[in-house]
């Protein structure tokens, strides 16, 4: 028997039924982004199930507390609009939990009704439901548009839309928008910028928020996160580096067009060449030279890529995930001479297929790629053309077990392994880590399957 026993090799066209999605909805991405503001309570303007689901998913992914408020719509609110609920929520939240910021995102429900959140937020301020010195930011994140990545991007844009304030003087900093990545990744980006001696404003920044310590003393609002003051100051930076087009470009473009902060949109700095692009862009934008320490880390990654090339060469991989992550992963796999054979994302965006085609144009293999695809499709492709490795979130483990293919967990959600919270996959060190994981998956399988005659001590 198998876990996904109804998935057959035969591929039939589907136009209406999504099976085993490779995405989820906007609000959870918005909630995640909002957690990257210091002292922020995310708030879900909709029925309370959304908030419960999003908190659950993020909690399981991080094994950390995830607080968020909800407007707790009932039938009445759904008919008459959620203004009263949201106003009441503001008052309660600030009185009971005392956050610095409340970051409100909408849901399919409140969007369908047509609630105008900025207007309600204004009203709350006017009515004194938002105490002096506290702020509200909002993002429109209808669940029926885009995906969790879109929601992330919208909330990041919401931060600067709501807060960025132009001053007379540049602040000498660079805005870095890390994209929809892990807290550990955000930490790594900060470390690299520090090594580069470039002062930055990183937003959002969930490092220190969703990978916190256990000390017996609990802070509802941990020490991490970008501050409101910093977000205000993003309008005065020398430039913006937006990492990941899907996750970061909205906010970057907003700052560019509204506050004339020039932006550059790059891929996520995951893998050798993408990290090169990031470091190079940073150095050029900031006018700094790259320190030996970073070149050293780069050289270590290249060294390991070289040392283990033989075990990676032409190995086939199937991937599901988010566009920015998949683009970077595919580029990394190609740089390792691996074959990204099947790729799906649930997140829409036509450019995705083009980018993947461009990255894989010299790969000596027919690469399957589908945007707005799902894991059912991916699994069918795998059944028709097996691969050596899977890369994707925890849901891929069902395919992994059925098809007996090792899985490197990457993306959202990872519900069954630890590590992503603490160890980055961006930067050169992140590349090393990812490489270690890919190799371990492949070599562990080799050690399991090699016949006794050719069982190897050294690899």
């Amino acid at each position: 028997m198998t876990l996904l026993r109804h998935t057959s090799k035969e591929i039939k066209d589907r136009s209406a039924l999504t099976i085993n999605p490779a995405k989820t909805c906007q609000p959870v991405g918005a909630m995640y982004a909002a957690l990257g503001i210091h002292g922020c309570l995310p708030h879900s303007h909709g029925s309370q199930g959304c908030c419960a689901y999003h908190r659950t998913m993020l909690t399981r992914h991080y094994k950390e507390p995830v607080y968020a408020g909800t407007s707790s719509f009932t039938e009445g609110a759904s008919v008459f609009g959620g203004q009263a609920n949201l106003l009441q929520a503001f008052q309660n939240i600030f009185e009971i939990y005392d956050p610095e910021v409340v970051a409100v995102h909408s849901t399919c429900l409140s969007e369908t009704i047509g609630d105008d959140m900025p207007q309600i937020a204004d009203k709350a301020v006017k009515e004194g439901k938002v105490p002096e010195g506290k702020v509200v930011v909002t993002a429109s994140t209808p669940s029926y548009v885009g995906s969790h990545v879109t929601g992330f991007a919208n909330m990041v844009q919401g931060m600067v839309k709501g807060l960025a304030t132009k001053k007379d003087k540049k602040n000498g900093k660079i805005n870095v928008i890390p994209g929809f990545v892990e807290p550990s990744d955000m930490g790594e980006i900060k470390r690299l910028c520090k090594l580069m001696d470039v002062p930055i404003i990183l937003f959002p920044d969930t490092d220190g928020v969703l990978n916190g310590p256990l000390t017996g003393k609990h802070k509802m609002f941990p020490d991490g996160g970008v501050t409101v003051e910093e977000l205000r100051d993003t309008a005065n930076s020398m430039g913006t580096l937006a990492l990941g087009e899907w996750g970061s470009s909205l906010a970057a473009k907003y700052l560019d067009s509204t506050h004339k902060v020039p932006c550059q949109i790059l891929g996520l700095p995951l893998g050798l060449t993408a990290t090169d692009s990031f470091i190079d862009a940073l150095r050029k934008m900031a006018g700094k030279s790259v320190p030996a320490e970073i070149s050293f880390e780069r050289g270590q990654l290249v060294d390991v890529m070289k040392d283990y090339h033989q075990y990676l060469y032409r190995r086939k991989v199937a991937l599901a995930g988010d566009p920015d992550q998949l683009i970077a992963l595919t580029e990394f796999l190609v740089s390792l001479d691996m074959i990204p054979a099947h790729i799906v994302t649930g997140t829409p965006g036509k450019k995705f297929e083009e980018r993947i085609r461009e990255i894989t144009k010299d790969v000596p293999y027919k690469v399957n790629v589908k945007v707005e695809g799902d894991m059912f499709m991916l699994h069918q492709w795998i059944k028709n053309d097996p691969v050596d490795l899977l890369i994707g979130n925890t849901y891929m483990k069902y395919i992994a077990r059925d098809e007996d293919i090792p899985l490197v967990r990457h993306g959202l959600p990872i519900l069954d392994r630890v590590g992503h919270q603490y160890f980055p996959t961006v930067g050169y060190k992140g590349g090393l880590r990812l490489l270690e994981k890919i190799l371990d998956a492949i070599l562990t399988r080799k050690d399991r399957d090699d016949p006794e005659t050719s069982f190897e001590l050294a690899l």
């Binding site: 607080y67 929520a89 399919c108 029926y144 017996g216 649930g346 849901y395």
Partner: protein, 548 residues
């Protein structure tokens, strides 16, 4: 914090509520009771099944979650299509730990799949019925399932998609295609905003299953003592353990609502001799409806706790009144209790005197107190996430419960006797005899009577109250769900999840009790809590011996 420990329960309550805005405090006051002893509690009402206040960080989820996730989740052979944007389907995909035994070679099992119409802006603007029709068609073409169920999410009701019409239409159409393959198709208007919690979703789910499936098959299967288990969801394999015990006793499980269940089981539920209700909250009305329609009596059972399991088995045997069964049940209990007792003998000295708090679900906060009792632990606070007053105060208060606007929206089915199949399982005479012997039918006394004086009973507890309670009362263990878990543990107190058992279980039945004893022992005696302070926190001053 000795001063805080010395607070009376009333002071604790006051301390917690004083943070709230007046309106909130007034409302929470009615949902936050201090247990003043059995007699005093006779006259105290608790407010329950009311709206959560916006902005309050609640444990609760929504109606869709209760319908699609909780009730239909554990049934393996129905293709459950979520009609809505992708999120709802995604979040309810494999996240409840309902186990199922689909090991029969041709068994269908769709529980590992997520099906969704993944509505986009276009569907919201122009209506999603066509997409839904097409999705049902595709599901049928791909899988030829026994049944397809459709679940409405928030926007569906608002934009006016008639999911029931689509279900009827597609059922007719698809059954016409292939007369050899019968497919049942039905829909649930379980939009997330309905009701005030998951409870509404349970109700909507059960009603539709009752309407569209139950009674479809009225042939009695084999088995001398035929029971239905209602309100058991096979989290972590609980149902497997219960079935193991029933089998061992010679009692046949006719149908399960809905742990480890199949469509066929729902269909034949009407032929059972007895309905046994585990989770009163989520399903008592179904038991009532089956009694009305077919004359099946129901009793409340509880398989959480070794003693409770023994008691429930004895109750079932007593119902059938057959000496052979009664003896067999005693044999089984004696045999199973050996391991239970042996484990307790090891564990109990390390757990006795410790304290627990349970704020979770609609019956677990009550049931699990039995297990803590067996461990010699005191439950010093408890409450439900989505229960109604009767779950706290007992069924006696049902007539007094005010139905508010939110609940009125949830359809109540009007059931009548099935003239063809109505058949009272016991004569009035027999029923009276049983009742005279202390046997209670359709009775549930609720949580409060089982709790001690000076404990706290809190409905729909929220994060502020949770954390404050822990800070003040420092229980040795706190039972709730995943959203609460890490916040509670950051405070240095282990949290045991009673929704998904932290991937443990089964905890039902005798083996489950043993599992639970060991697990609680692990948690309340873990050395991890001794590591919270670093050496330099304990002794921060420096003796600069080497400094120089």
């Amino acid at each position: 914090m000795p001063t805080k420990k010395a607070m009376t329960p009333a002071e604790v309550k006051e301390e917690i509520l004083k943070r709230y805005p007046t309106k909130v405090a007034r409302k929470r006051d009615k949902q936050f009771l201090v247990h003043e002893g059995p007699e005093a509690m006779q006259t105290k009402d608790i407010q329950a099944n009311v709206r959560t206040i916006p902005g309050i960080i609640t444990q609760r989820g929504c109606t869709y979650a209760g319908c699609k996730g909780v009730i239909l989740g554990p049934t393996r052979d129905i293709v459950n299509i979520t009609h809505g944007p992708i999120g709802c389907g995604f979040y309810s995909w494999l996240t409840r730990r309902n186990q199922t035994d689909a090991s029969a070679p041709d068994a269908a099992n769709y529980m590992t799949y997520c099906f969704s119409t993944d509505m986009t802006e276009h569907d919201i603007v122009f209506g999603g019925m066509n997409k839904l029709r097409q999705a049902v068609q595709e599901a049928y073409d791909l899988f030829k399932p026994r049944a397809i169920a459709i679940f409405s999410t928030c926007p569906v009701g608002l934009i006016g998609d008639d999911v029931h019409a689509v279900a009827r239409e597609m059922k007719e159409k698809l059954n016409a295609i292939d007369p050899n393959h019968k497919v049942n198709i039905f829909a649930f208007s379980c939009e997330g905003y309905k009701g005030v919690s998951q409870s509404a979703g349970h109700h909507i789910a059960n009603n539709q299953i009752f309407t569209h499936v139950v009674g479809e098959e009225m042939k009695r299967p084999e088995g001398k003592y035929l029971i239905n288990m209602l309100g058991e969801y096979n989290i972590g394999g609980d149902a497997f353990e219960i079935e193991r015990i029933l089998d061992k006793c010679g009692i046949t499980l006719n149908s399960s609502f809905s742990g480890n269940s199949t469509y066929e089981q729902f269909a034949r539920a009407g032929v059972a001799d007895l309905n046994c209700v585990m989770c009163h909250r989520s399903i008592n009305y179904v038991a009532d409806m089956m009694e009305t329609k077919w004359g099946i009596p129901w009793i409340k059972v509880n398989f959480i706790g070794a003693k409770s399991t023994a008691k429930s088995l004895r109750k079932i045997a007593q119902y059938f009144g057959d000496k052979q069964l009664i003896d067999r049940v005693e044999e089984v209990i004696a045999e199973e209790m050996k391991n239970v007792d042996a484990t307790l003998a090891d564990v109990k000295p390390r757990t006795t005197g410790k304290t627990a708090m349970l704020f979770v679900g609609g019956s677990r906060a009550h049931h699990y107190q039995d297990l803590f009792k067996e461990l010699g632990m005191r439950s010093i606070g408890a409450g439900y996430e989505f229960a109604h007053r009767d779950d706290y105060e007992g069924r006696r208060v049902i007539p007094d419960i005010k139905v508010d606007a939110d609940s009125r929206n949830i359809e109540e089915l009007h059931i009548e006797q099935d003239p063809a199949n109505y058949n009272p399982r016991k004569t009035d005479e027999e029923l009276k005899q049983l009742e005279a012997a202390g046997f209670e039918f359709k009775e549930y006394a609720g949580l409060i009577p089982d709790m001690d004086k000076d404990t706290l009973i809190i409905d729909d507890i929220n994060s502020w109250e949770t954390e404050k309670l822990i800070e003040i009362m420092k229980p040795d263990i706190f039972c709730a769900g995943i959203k609460e878990k890490y916040a509670v543990e950051k405070l240095g107190v282990p949290l045991k999840q009673l929704h998904n058992y932290d991937m443990g279980g089964p905890y039902a039945g005798f083996k489950g009790a043993v599992n639970y004893y060991l697990e609680i022992d692990r948690l309340v005696n873990s050395k991890i809590w001794s590591y919270l302070e670093a050496p330099w926190d304990k002794e921060p001053e420096l003796s600069a011996t080497y400094v120089g």
